[in-house]
Subunit: 371 residues, 2 copies
Amino acid sequence: MPSSKAKSQKSPSEIEKKLMEMAKRIVDDIYAKRNPAIELPIRTLSNVYFDEVSKLIRIGDRKSIRTYMNMAHTRKFMQTVLVASECKKIMDQQVTTSVRDLYYALKHTIKGSKENTFDDQSESDPIIEDLEAALNTLREELNLKTDRKGYLAGGVMINDMGDLINAKKMGSSGWAIPSNVEPEVIKFEDVSADYILVIEKDAVWQRLNEDKFWRDHNCIIITGKGQPARGARRLVNRLHKEHNLPVYVLTDADPWGYYIYSVIKQGSINLSFLSDRLGTPEAKFIGLTTEDLKEFDIPKNVTIKLTKEDEKRIKELMNYIWFKPKEWQKELKHMAKEGFKMELEALSSKGIKFISKEYLPQKIENKEFLP
Amino acid sequence: MPSSKAKSQKSPSEIEKKLMEMAKRIVDDIYAKRNPAIELPIRTLSNVYFDEVSKLIRIGDRKSIRTYMNMAHTRKFMQTVLVASECKKIMDQQVTTSVRDLYYALKHTIKGSKENTFDDQSESDPIIEDLEAALNTLREELNLKTDRKGYLAGGVMINDMGDLINAKKMGSSGWAIPSNVEPEVIKFEDVSADYILVIEKDAVWQRLNEDKFWRDHNCIIITGKGQPARGARRLVNRLHKEHNLPVYVLTDADPWGYYIYSVIKQGSINLSFLSDRLGTPEAKFIGLTTEDLKEFDIPKNVTIKLTKEDEKRIKELMNYIWFKPKEWQKELKHMAKEGFKMELEALSSKGIKFISKEYLPQKIENKEFLP
């Protein structure tokens, strides 16, 4: 949302212009008695690739045409126009809304029929992603929000809609990362940290926050609470790009943790059209690895036996092109061979402060990262 | 966690004294060649009741004795002593830890055997609740934490471990409610709000925060993101008790939303031994109700048909003693009869700002609450 100052001087944004162009083409089609059409990038796996130059998962050039006079498209065409028009409306009103509220605001029975515009939110969410891809934008720039999760503490001053937040003074809870962290809402007023540590688990983040790890090591600590929401990924991307901060990622030693790392690093297949804004290809993996068991003398009884599903997932990861570097192949083979995984909390068997006082400092000091 | 000032002057807390007494009794038993025993309140439904005076769900007087020389108890006895001793250790170190880290810190194979102290966290978590009940304390006072969720904004200044947080200046995200909100960690420096609005859903909280509802109506808005975690419930309890603030609860119009309200109001069966600290019997229900459909002229097509499970749950709620007031019986009957439920987002069908500009102000103005 723009600040109150911007509110009184509002002129149409790039996104609003693109939305209006899309609408104008449809209206022109109608007046010219052509079949109204919307062009959309294809978002399935067949049109997604790993770009070796940018090291990001990217969407290809193939497009599909959604037309009104095609029984297979008509419903989705109608829905696309409805969502686009509601986005324009909320942007005009300069308010934001949740993707769920958008669904409810648009849901109605079409006059003179028994047909609902939308039966379920699972119909409106993909339409929003279609629009994001078609306009090359983020839903947040369409003034849409979702539930958020994730926390931050450390060396950064944040301007959140005019309120100044000192992330070194956020007590035990930290700053809650909002859904929309685009520059219009979130500005970094002052960045004093040397690097960013992204942590899979909130419990570990709380441990590091309590130990004031960010003060002793002059960094920023962020947790996404599992797979980070878009907000946390975009924040890491922006802090890295705008302030040149190295990014280190700390997850469980299991295929799910490694996948979380890969999504932070090169984006995801699902949101391949947003990798530029959500991925941070220069991120490095700090741990946990199954090799750490030996190196840090962790007792074997805090490890967890791999399940069949884990084993299957390890094989899948080994085939992803972005896990092809030899260090990752070695780690994944080691995990499969030894047959165990390990959670971050396993380090507590060496003492509650082991992670902040020994494990992380040693890894950072010796630059023991996986690529 | 105590402030750094307290750190240097630390004397044993009441909880530490109780822990030491428990330990001393066990040691005395051993020296006297008695069977070592720990007395624990019974926490099953059979020992839980609704107290008509305090209007809280409470635990009864029945106790069980866990003894060492009883094959059925030995493992749990050992685990109880381990957890108690680790709590004492972290309290001595003046650090806090997560319940998951506690599990990992204690898990090991007992020397000379193949027996693990704990096989799974599902063994250590109930032991922590046993200790809470036995010592009449909160796990947070044993320096234990869990994942947190929930946000707050509005008229309160919070001192969080020495950092001063102005909840009117927290931008788009609000203050993240920590796991531990006991007075040792969280202090209310200044409370200017007239009441507290507790909101089931984060999306609705974000809507109200964006509209600065808390400023226009001089209140505090809190979301628990679904069923609130203990932190949010304890925070509501403290703000109500210490600052005499009325509490209004806003949930979906469905049996699950109504249950969330009831847990905020009179506590839960599961944590009946903590109702004094987690429940707020004076809380009132502001909405949503199925009767609102007619009163606020909400289009019928944004309602959702009840499932078999919803219908079963409605019947269960009607039998709970705390849903016996005639207003609740009427609403639950109405929901069952009409056969629909409604989410808070359904109000968006009347416009995105309808909830903050019309629905809530009218309900509060007219005091349209359920008891």
